[in-house]
Amino acid sequence: MSLLEVERLSKNFRGLAAISDVSFAIEAGTITSIIGPNGAGKSTMFNLITGYLPLTAGEIRYRALRITGMATNRIAALGIARAFQIARPFRDLTVFENVRVGALFGKAGPRDVEATTRRALELASLAALAEQPASSLTVGQLRHLEVARAIATRADLLLADEPCAGLNPTETAAMIDVLRQVRTNGVTVVLVEHDMPSVMEVSDRVLVLDAGRLIADGPPKTVATDPKVIAAYLGTPDAA
């Protein structure tokens, strides 16, 4: 049984089909990247999985349980966490307090809150900044905070929305390290990412969306040489 199954998923914004008839399954313990040009429906996919937006058709199952139509906080409590592309820290709280909210709520409720918080902070290499107010962090550190807060919920599935966007090479390398650590700790990771070197380096598998359709699915090397993928990114010769 796959951890997450997406079956014939569609989402229309009025007339616009943001996602059309997409199916895939995510195996536990893997890192999967979802890539695609701007507007391909990558972030919409995350919004649908987390219940932030209602879907038009299809079904999403998590551990064989149908989560379509569930409230966002209930989905979070089942073990799906999300790290936002544009970091949304609780600005007036310290780094520790931010992550503590994840540990207090999320899956399995409030057990070992302090220890879980510390572990998540260490995993995201934020332990030294624990007492700083979140508003004082750099963009790169805020991304780490997003991941730490998500991991503190004891999620089994982390949806990370462009964790490397806008980061410099050093910060990107640090983020990739954190994501690997997260996987080593038994958390399945799904990434939406634009930074192709990072995607190639970290992913076990790549899904390619274009205009709401799934056009490729496979190991990074295979997908990178797929003519359909190249066409989606660069345009086809006859269209030019």
Binding site: T50, Y52, A71, T72, N73, A76, A77, A81, R82, F84, R88, P89, F90, R91, D92, L93, T94, E97, R100, V101, G102, L104, F105, G106, K107, P110, R149, A150, T153
Partner: protein
Amino acid sequence: MTRNPVPVFLLVAAAVVVLAAGPLFLPPFYVRVGQLMLYSAGLGLAWAILGGFAGYASFGHAAFIGVGAFTAGLVEARFSTLPTALLLPVGLLAGAASCAILSALIAYPILRLRGTFFAIAMLGVSHVCAEVTNNIDFFQGSMGLNFPPIAPASWDPANFFYEVYLAAALLILLVSWQIRRSRFGAGLLSIREDEDTARMLGVPTERYKRTAFVVSAVLTGIMGVIYAHSLGYITTESVYRDDTNLSLIVYSLLGGMGTLFGPVIGAFLLVFITQVILGRLLDFHLFATGLLLVILVLAAPGGVAGLLKRKRAAT
């Protein structure tokens, strides 16, 4: 987050002892001022459970003062054969229950509004309640309601109500302290900071907001019932007051929004300034209060608590 809860606890305990002994040495005028301070502090604390912790600033909490007061008055009139000592408890129960019911009924629709929209909708609730009380004979809002004297014969009523206010304010402080340090409190703070993210982390935001709203309304209603008894006679105008609606926000702004002691500091400060320092200036005092507020909010956006924090961070 206080890192040294024992000294803070001792400080509060000492303050309560001094305050409780107040009527023994204060002249009557200052006992009245003290009543108003404690009443305002209690209201400010109750307001802040929703407005300060969860970030839903209500502009109409006088609704619950009025509903609590009028329910208590009408219920007590039907239980007039009860011993005097039981009247206040009965009134408190009735007032708290009616505020719980009213807030629970309006919680779902009104808490879907955010920010200014919520504030204005609450102002509307307060005005609707006032109009209903005023225009439906059953509620006797325009005629007025009498409250039986409940202070024990051996006790000066002013001193008696001073102590009742102190007890109620202390109860509300304990409730908000417990909330602040609980999981529920952490959830409310995360809602204030970013409601969508909070939900994404598994915080049951809708349920928490509703609970905070009901708790805040009930505690406000309790204060309203005591207020009505201390006045002895109330009309619509004396409990549904827009200056109360406004002041409750000001207490938190002045003392420190979202902090535990902010509303207490703010209420004490504002009451002292308006009643004692500016009390003799008559109409001029409203102007002076307004000016003072503008200066304070500009100079110290975090309120008094924010100033203290900044000073501690600097040393």
